[in-house]
Symmetry: C2
Subunit: 227 residues, 2 copies
């Protein structure tokens, strides 16, 4: 019962639909302008401005001024993880109706989740890497095996910045697939490598990803995954 007020403060920030929409948009990992966030939230710019001011004061987002644009990003992985854990609780709640849309389909298929890959593609990668015993995923933690380190090295995934730390692979529950995908430092590095290799590309103005033809070949060759 101590710092509960702090919790309530942060949670109530996330608890407003407009702000939740903005934060979810930022969960895509990119920095977005105030206007883009206004569109994402479905409110006017002046309302957005107020919301962003609050999120900034509470340090849930950070600000990068660039000319007349103001780019907002999530303040760090801890915020992303908080949002994920809330999502995780939300989807264990009472079942919902939710109308389908085309964008939803694309998001379901492949999207970024802060700094790593989610959706059918993300879950598929996790599943294949588990099957090959490149990673071991538990409920709350994950681990890269020696053969997995080897494999990732061959793929050109740069893990040098994390080498000191033996554990740095976090399973991240997927809200569409209800199965884990690979987050944490490994997930981020893997996603970055996939972008470098041009296996995946962002779909304009969304969190959704499209898989390129060379991506399909690569995924089949390296991961034995037909996407």
């Amino acid at each position: 019962m101590p710092n509960a007020p702090h919790i309530a403060e942060v949670a109530s920030l996330v608890g407003d639909p407009a702000r939740a929409n903005m934060l979810c948009a930022l969960l895509g990992g990119r920095a977005l302008t105030a206007t883009e966030l206004a569109f994402a939230a479905g409110v006017t710019p002046q309302t957005t401005s107020g919301h962003l001011g609050k999120l900034f004061s509470a340090r849930l987002v950070v600000l990068m001024k660039q000319g007349r644009h103001r780019y907002y990003r999530l303040a760090g992985p801890h915020v992303a993880q908080m949002l994920e854990s809330i999502m995780n609780v939300a989807l264990t709640g009472p079942p919902r109706f939710q109308p389908k849309s085309k964008l939803d389909d694309k998001l379901r298929h492949a999207r970024t989740c802060y700094d790593h890959i989610a959706g059918v593609l993300g879950v598929g990668l996790a599943e294949r890497m588990s099957a090959h015993e490149f990673v071991v995923l538990g409920d709350e933690a994950g681990e890269v095996t020696p053969s997995g380190m080897d494999f990732l090295g061959k793929l050109g995934v740069d893990l040098s910045a994390y080498k000191k730390r033996r554990v740095f692979c976090r399973p991240c529950l997927d809200w569409t697939e209800r199965r884990p995908h690979i987050g944490g430092a490994v997930g981020a590095a893997l996603a970055q490598r996939c972008f470098e290799l041009k296996w995946i590309e962002r779909i304009r103005d969304t969190r959704a990803l499209s898989i390129t033809p060379s991506g399909r070949r690569g995924l089949l060759e390296f991961f034995d995954l037909s996407a």
Copy 2:
């Protein structure tokens, strides 16, 4: 930006100070009656009843009727983890003044965190086990080493239920110490064993723990930790 409404719904439940207080009280891990929760939240029973109804509908808590009492518990570890992650974000926010109290001191010293041990004691255990290389803790995941499994076995910690899973040790950032303590299945099993050994005892009506004389001896002997 899809299921953002769901996030907002859950977050706004946590975002009310009274409900946040209740949930934090339940973070102690025990089941509490509606009246106890009313006291913890500082509101009247009828207000509490309304709140608990909402938390129950959203499946953040579960209910056990027992005679004329109604015991509420957190719906599961996922809820505890969500609360922790929110706490984690809250304490990276702007610094706060918070008046000290005696209970705060005790909580700071040793307390339960859902199903494992937190506070100075929890952080100390994690630190000693890391130093002896019984566990390896990263930012987002942890791992028990073979020698650690051996050590826990000697201590009588029952991990049989989790043996299949190689990773099941979650670092849990401590809101008082700002350093990780051991959560997940290992943390829960370790805490349970400490209760069995009567090394620690709950302080009535709180999440705080007191260390018994035999606990001090045991901690010194097994963990090289003077508590």
